[in-house]
Symmetry: C2
C-alpha cells in the first residue's frame, strides 16, 4: 500500500511539475544550458557534491551554483553540497586551493595546463566518486561544464577518464557594440551592455552571459566596437567596465577594450598620437595604469588602426608594429596583451584589396613585441560565405596570429537565415597552408603548433544582443556555441559540435538529433549557392549588406563595389588573381598557389575568386559556367526547401514557440534565397545576354525592379 501511495503521488507530481515546466517559456533564453529533465537517472549519477577546498572561491562558487541549477533541472532536485565524501559524490578538486583529499586520491594534473581539467571515475576511501580535478579553479569550472554537458546530452557519466586542455590561450568574443547600444553588424537587438544604467544597475543577464561563455570555454570578451570611441577610456566608463568585469571574473572571463589610437589627442589634449612621441607613450602608460586600477585583471587592448577611417600609426608614418608595441609596453607590466587587427586597407585603392594585409604585415614579422598578437580574419576579404583561407596564416612564423571569425552573420543572411557556421570554420581551420610542409593546417598555425607561438587565440565577432534568445534566432546560438568549442579545440569536428549542441538545445532523441544536425550541416553551402556560388563574393547590398546588389559599380571607391569583385562583362566573369591578373594567388605557399592558379586544379568553389573565365567555359561536369551558375542558385533554393520540409517533420516534437519561430524564419530564408537567385540572374543576363538554361524559371521581375528595392532601416549598419 505504501508503495502504491508513493507511486501515485510520484505520478501525480510528475504531471503537475510537467505542467509547470511547460509554463516556462521556451523562448531560447536558456541557450544550450536548458538541462532538460532526464528520462532516467544515469548510472553513477552523483548524490552529492564536495568542494575539496578549504576556501570556496567565487569561481568554485559559480561551479557549485551551476551544478545545483543543472541537477535540480535534470535530476529533479539539486545535489546536496557536503563536506564529506560519500558514495557517488562529485568531487571538485582545484590545485589552486589545496584539498582535503587523502594522499594519492587526486590524478595528476600536470599536463592539463592552467585551464584544463581531468574528469575521472575513481574511488576515494573505497567509495566510488567522480573527480573533477584541475590546477586552477577555472579548470574545475570548465570540467564541471564538461561533466554537465555530458549529462545534459544524455551521454554516460560513468567510467569517465577524460583529460582536456584548451589548445588556444585566448578565446575571445569581440563585441562590435557602440556605447549608445547600437551593435554594428548586430541582428539581435541592442547591445546587452546597458552603459547608461551601469554601474548602478548590473543586469542579472550579465551573469547568464558569463555562464554561457564559460560553459564553452570562452575566457575573454572585448566589450566595445573596433570602430572605437575613446569615451570608454574615461573614468565614468571605466567604472562601468569594472562593474561588468566583476560579474565575469568568477567565470574565468577577462575584459578587454578597444583602444582608439587617437585617444591621447581626444581625451588627453595632446597635439599628436604618434606612437614614438614620449608624451603619447606616457599618456597611454598612465591611462593603462588607471584601467588596471579599475580592473586589476584587465586583459588588454584590441585595435583596429588605419582601416576604414580609423586612426593609426600610419597617420604619423609609423608602422603597425610601432603602434602595437607602444600599447604593448603599456600593458606588459600588468600582464596584458595587444590584439592588433590585420584587417587593413589603405586610403588609396589597391590593385587588389585581398592582397593588402599580406603585403603590409609580412614584412613586419618579427618586429612585434612579445605580448602582441596579430588578429587575422579567416579569409583575405571580409567574412564572405566562402573565401580561401587568409594567406597570412603560415606566413608570419615570428608573430602570434589569432584567427578572427565572424559569428554574427553580416554576409550570411542576418539572423533569419539558418546557416551553421561550424562547417565554414572547419573548412578554414582544416585547410592546409603547406607553410611548414604538407599538413600545416590553419588550425596548427592558430594553436601555435606550427610556429611555437608564445600566445595563441581565436576571436569571434559576437552575435549577442538584447533579443530574448540572445542571438536573434535559435540556430544562431549554435554559431556562438561552435565558436567557443572550436576555440578550445580548433581540430574539433563541426558535425560533432552541431550534434552536441542539438542534444542540449532541442532533444536527446537520436532521430531528432540526426534530423536537425543534417539540416545544420548543409545549411551554409545552401547560402553559398544562393548568394555567391563558384567563388563569387561580396555581391551584397551597399552598407547594410542585406540582399543582392551585384549591379553596384559606382561607390566612393571601386573596391567597395560588387563589380570590383565579379568583373562580369559580356565576355566573362571572375577576378583574375593569377599571374596574368593581380597574382594574389602567389601569396600562398607553392603547392597551394599552383593548385589554385591552374584552371585544371582550382576547385569549382573558388573558380571565380581566382579566375576570369568566359560564360561558356566548360565545367568539369560538362555544363557551361553559365549553366552551372544558374544551377547553383536553384540548388541553394532547393536545399532551403529541403530544410523546411525536414524541419516541418519535427512538428510536435519541438516546443511550439521555438518550432514556430524557426518555421517563420525558414520561410523568410526561402523567400530571400529566391530573391537572391532572381535578382542575380536578372543582372547576369543583362550583362551576358544569354538565355536561361533549360528548365530554369525566369525571374518574376525585371532587373529595374530588383535595383529599385531599398532598405534604409536594415539593422546593423555602421554609424
Amino acid at each position: 500500500m505504501k508503495n502504491f501511495i508513493k507511486r501515485v503521488a510520484a505520478a501525480f507530481c510528475l504531471l503537475v511539475s510537467g505542467l509547470f515546466q511547460h509554463a516556462v517559456a521556451e523562448d531560447g533564453y536558456e541557450l544550450w544550458l536548458r538541462y532538460e529533465r532526464l528520462d532516467q537517472v544515469p548510472k553513477a549519477a552523483p548524490h552529492s557534491v564536495v568542494a575539496a577546498c578549504s576556501d570556496v572561491s567565487p569561481t568554485l562558487d559559480a561551479a557549485l551554483s551551476e551544478i545545483s541549477r543543472a541537477s535540480a533541472s535534470m535530476l529533479g532536485q539539486p545535489l546536496k553540497q557536503s563536506g564529506k565524501i560519500s558514495r557517488n559524490a562529485l568531487v571538485l578538486a582545484s590545485g589552486a586551493c589545496g584539498t582535503s583529499l587523502p594522499d594519492g586520491a587526486l590524478p595528476t594534473v600536470d599536463q592539463v595546463g592552467p585551464e584544463g581539467y581531468v574528469l575521472q571515475s575513481t574511488r576515494i576511501n573505497g567509495k566510488p566518486v567522480t573527480l573533477i580535478a584541475a590546477q586552477s579553479d577555472a579548470g574545475v569550472l570548465y570540467g564541471v561544464f564538461d561533466y554537465l554537458r555530458r549529462m545534459s546530452s544524455g551521454d554516460a557519466v560513468a567510467d569517465l577518464d577524460v583529460t582536456s586542455r584548451p589548445k588556444t590561450k585566448l578565446r575571445l568574443l569581440n563585441h562590435w557594440d557602440n556605447l549608445d547600444r547600437h551593435v554594428e553588424r548586430g541582428y539581435s537587438g541592442q547591445s546587452i551592455w546597458d552603459w547608461h544604467r551601469l554601474p548602478g544597475y548590473v543586469d542579472p543577464r550579465y551573469t547568464d552571459y558569463a555562464r554561457a561563455n564559460a560553459s564553452i570555454g570562452i575566457n575573454g570578451t572585448s566589450l566595445t566596437n573596433v570602430n572605437s570611441d575613446a569615451t570608454v577610456l574615461t573614468p565614468p566608463y571605466l567604472e562601468k567596465v569594472a562593474a561588468i568585469a566583476n560579474v565575469l571574473r568568477p567565470y574565468g572571463i577577462k575584459v578587454y577594450l578597444t583602444a582608439r589610437f587617437s585617444a591621447p589627442m581626444e581625451l588627453g589634449g595632446l597635439p599628436t598620437a604618434d606612437p614614438l612621441d614620449p608624451a603619447v607613450q606616457a599618456w597611454w602608460q598612465a591611462k593603462t595604469d588607471e584601467i588596471y586600477d579599475y580592473v586589476p585583471d584587465f586583459g588588454g587592448f584590441l585595435v583596429k588602426a588605419n582601416s576604414e577611417g580609423q586612426p593609426g600609426p600610419q597617420d604619423y608614418g609609423r608602422s603597425h608594429a610601432e603602434g602595437a608595441n607602444m600599447l604593448a609596453r603599456a600593458v606588459a607590466p600588468h600582464g596584458g596583451v595587444v590584439m592588433w587587427r590585420a584587417f587593413v586597407y589603405s586610403a588609396e585603392e589597391p590593385e587588389d584589396r585581398v592582397k593588402q594585409a599580406y603585403t603590409e604585415f609580412v614584412p613586419l614579422d618579427g618586429q612585434f613585441a612579445d605580448n602582441v598578437l596579430v588578429q587575422v580574419k579567416n579569409g583575405p576579404l571580409d567574412f564572405q560565405p566562402r573565401e580561401p583561407f587568409h594567406p597570412l596564416f603560415g606566413a608570419m612564423p615570428e608573430t602570434p596570429l589569432m584567427i578572427e571569425l565572424q559569428i554574427t552573420k553580416e554576409y550570411l543572411g542576418f539572423s533569419t537565415h539558418l546557416a551553421y557556421l561550424g562547417t565554414l570554420w572547419e573548412e578554414v581551420l582544416s585547410a592546409d597552408t603547406h607553410a611548414e610542409g604538407e599538413g600545416t593546417t590553419v588550425a596548427s598555425v592558430v594553436d601555435g603548433e606550427a610556429h611555437d607561438y608564445a600566445y595563441t587565440g581565436m576571436a569571434g565577432v559576437s552575435n549577442i544582443g538584447t533579443d530574448r534568445n540572445w542571438a536573434g534566432s535559435i540556430f544562431d546560438q549554435a554559431n556562438w556555441y561552435a565558436f567557443g568549442r572550436l576555440a578550445w579545440n580548433p581540430d574539433a569536428s563541426a558535425e560533432d559540435i552541431a550534434r552536441e549542441w542539438v542534444k542540449q538545445t532541442f532533444s536527446r532523441k537520436p532521430e531528432i538529433v540526426n534530423e536537425i544536425t543534417a539540416i545544420m550541416m548543409k545549411s551554409r553551402e545552401a547560402v553559398v549557392d544562393y548568394m555567391t556560388p563558384l567563388g563569387l563574393t561580396h555581391l551584397m547590398g551597399t552598407g547594410h549588406h542585406y540582399g543582392p546588389a551585384p549591379w553596384v559599380d559606382d561607390l566612393g571607391r571601386a573596391d567597395w563595389t560588387p563589380y570590383y569583385y565579379h568583373k562580369a562583362t559580356r565576355d566573362g566573369i571572375g577576378f583574375d588573381r593569377t599571374e596574368n591578373g593581380s597574382d594574389a594567388v602567389d601569396q600562398y605557399a607553392g603547392p597551394i598557389a599552383q593548385e589554385w592558379a591552374s584552371l585544371d586544379t582550382v576547385p569549382d568553389n573558388l573558380l571565380l575568386w581566382f579566375h576570369h573565365v568566359p560564360w561558356d567555359y566548360e565545367m568539369r561536369d560538362g555544363s557551361t559556367l553559365w549553366q552551372s551558375l544558374v544551377a547553383h542558385y536553384s540548388r541553394g533554393i532547393a536545399t532551403v526547401e529541403e530544410m523546411q520540409a525536414e524541419w516541418a517533420s519535427l512538428k510536435g516534437q519541438i516546443d511550439p514557440e521555438r518550432f514556430n519561430q524557426v518555421t517563420d524564419y525558414l520561410k523568410i530564408q526561402h523567400e530571400e534565397a529566391q530573391w537572391w537567385r532572381d535578382a542575380s540572374i536578372a543582372y547576369w543576363q543583362s550583362i551576358n545576354d544569354l538565355p536561361l538554361p533549360e528548365g530554369e524559371a525566369p525571374p518574376p521581375h525585371d532587373l529595374e525592379y530588383y535595383k529599385s528595392l531599398s532598405f534604409p532601416n536594415a539593422p546593423g549598419q555602421g554609424e
Copy 2:
C-alpha cells in the same frame, strides 16, 4: 486512509509545483497580468465558462483564452469551456453575436455604449451565474479583464452589479518609435516593432502587448514617431503594419500612423505638399485608400506639423486647420480620424513659448473638420515634472481636444527614478478651467462633457520597449497602467489606481499594498522637489534631458535654454507671466488668471512659473525664497531616502529579482537626486552669492565640475 493519501499527495504536489512556479523568472514580463495563485478559492468562483454566441469571434476567442490562462494561474486549473450553463458558470454574452440565452436572462446593455459592459451576478434557469454582457465583443473582452482584475486583486467576485463604459472614445498609445527601432525618449530598450523581420516574423510579444493594453482599455496605438518618416507609408511597410494590425485587431486595438506632411513630395514626387493643391489632395486620398486596403480598420493619422522642424501647412501659408482637414477628408470615407498636435512653436522665437499653442489654435476653433481632434499636451510647455494645465483646455469649445500625456519619463528621471505619474495626471485632470463656470475640470473638457465633443480621447506617449519588463522598470509599468485606467475614466483616483496595480503586480497583502502605494503616492512630488521646485521648469541637460543644467544659456535659440525659463539674476528668479511680463496668465479663464497673477494667491508650487521674485522674497511660511528653494531640494532627497527605507522593509516579501532591481534603481535615484540638488545650488549660488541656509550641506564639488559632466550616450535622444 484514502483521504490521508490525497492530503499527502496534494501537499507534496504543492511543494513540487511551488518549486516550479518559483522557477518562472519574476522579471516583470507578465506586467500586472501575473494572476498570482489565490490563497483560497473565492466565493462564487466560476466552474466553467460559456460563450453564449453562435460564432466565437477572434475577440471572444481572445477573451476565452485570457480566462483560461488566468484561471489556470489563479485557481490552479483552467476553466472548462462549456456549451451549457451550469452552476457558477461565467457567461459571456455579446449583443454583437446574438446569444442562445433564454429571454430575459440578459441585463440591458443599452447604456454601456459600444465598448462598455455589465458584470452581473444573477441566475439563469435557476442556476447562479456571473454574466459579462455587452453590446460588442470588445465590450465583453473589457468586462472579462475587469472581472479578472477583481479576482487577481483579491476582491469579491460574488454579488456583482457593475456597469462600466469608457468616458473617452479614443484611448491611444503614441509610440515615438523610429523605423530603425530607435525610440525617441525611450528608456526601455529598442522599439518592440521589429520592422526588419516583419511581416515574415510576427513576434509573439505583440500578442502580449495587445493583451496588456486591452486589459486597461486602450483601443488604439500609433506605431511611429511624430517626428515622422514617410517610409512607413510605402507598400513594404504597409504590409508590415498590416501584420501588426492583424495581431491587435482581436483585442479591440486599432492601428494609427504618423503622417509626414511632406510625403507627397518625398514619396509621390510632387513639387509641393500644399494642402490646397488638388494633386496633393489626390495623392493623400489615394495613399489613404491604399492604407485601408492593407488595414481595413485603420484608425487614422497622428500629425506633428510645423513644430521642431517638421513640415506642415504653414510652409505654404496655410493654417493648421487647412492641413488637418485635407487629411481628414482622405480618411473620412473610411471612418478614420486625424489627431493634429497643438505642440507647435514657430521658427521665430516667440515672446513666451508657452503662449504659442493657444495663440495659434484658439482662432481656428470651429474651422476643423468633424473627424479632426486637436491633441494638446497636459501643460503649455513640455511634460515637465509640474506645469499648470494647458490654457487650451476650455478655450476651444468647437474643437474636440484630446489630452496628450507622456508616460515615458523624459523629464522625470528616465526609467531609473521611481515616479508614479498618476498623481501628476490627476492634478491636471481635476484642475478647474472655469471655462464653463466653476467645476469645468480638464477631465470634463477631455471627456466631452463640457463642450459636447463628438470625439474624445486621451493619448499617452508610450514607455514601452524591448526591455524584458517592457517599461524599463517595474514601477514604470504603473504609469502605463494608470494611463489606460485614466483614459477609461479621467475622474478616477490616482491612489485607487495605484492600489489596484500594486495588488495585481506585487501582492494582495494589505500591509504590502499600503506600503507600496504610499511610496508611489509621494514619488512624483519628490522629483519636483529635487529637480524643479516652486514652479521652476526645464532645467534639464540639453538634448538628452538627463540631469541638471540650469546654467545653459547659449543654445541655438533662447527658448531651448534653461536660462530662458528661470531668468535667474542677482536680483531674483522666475518668469514673469503676469501683465508686467508675458501676460501668459491671461490665457486662462478669469478666476484662474486672477489667482495665479497675484502673489497673494498663486500657489507656491507655481510661484516661479508665473512670477519673478527676489531671492529674499518672503514665503507664506516666513522663510525666504532662497531658504525655501534649498529646503525643497533637500526635502526631495529626504523623500527618496524614505522611499528607500520603506522599500527595504519589504525585503523577503517581494521576489528577489524585482526587489533587487527596484533597490538598485532607488539607489541610482538617490544619487541623482543629490546631484540635482548640489548642481542646482552650486549654480544658484554663483548667481545670487547667498550663503547656504543654516544646516544645509554645501555641494561637494564646485560648479565647474557639474558643468563639466557630459553624457554623449544618454538614451532616448532625438536623431
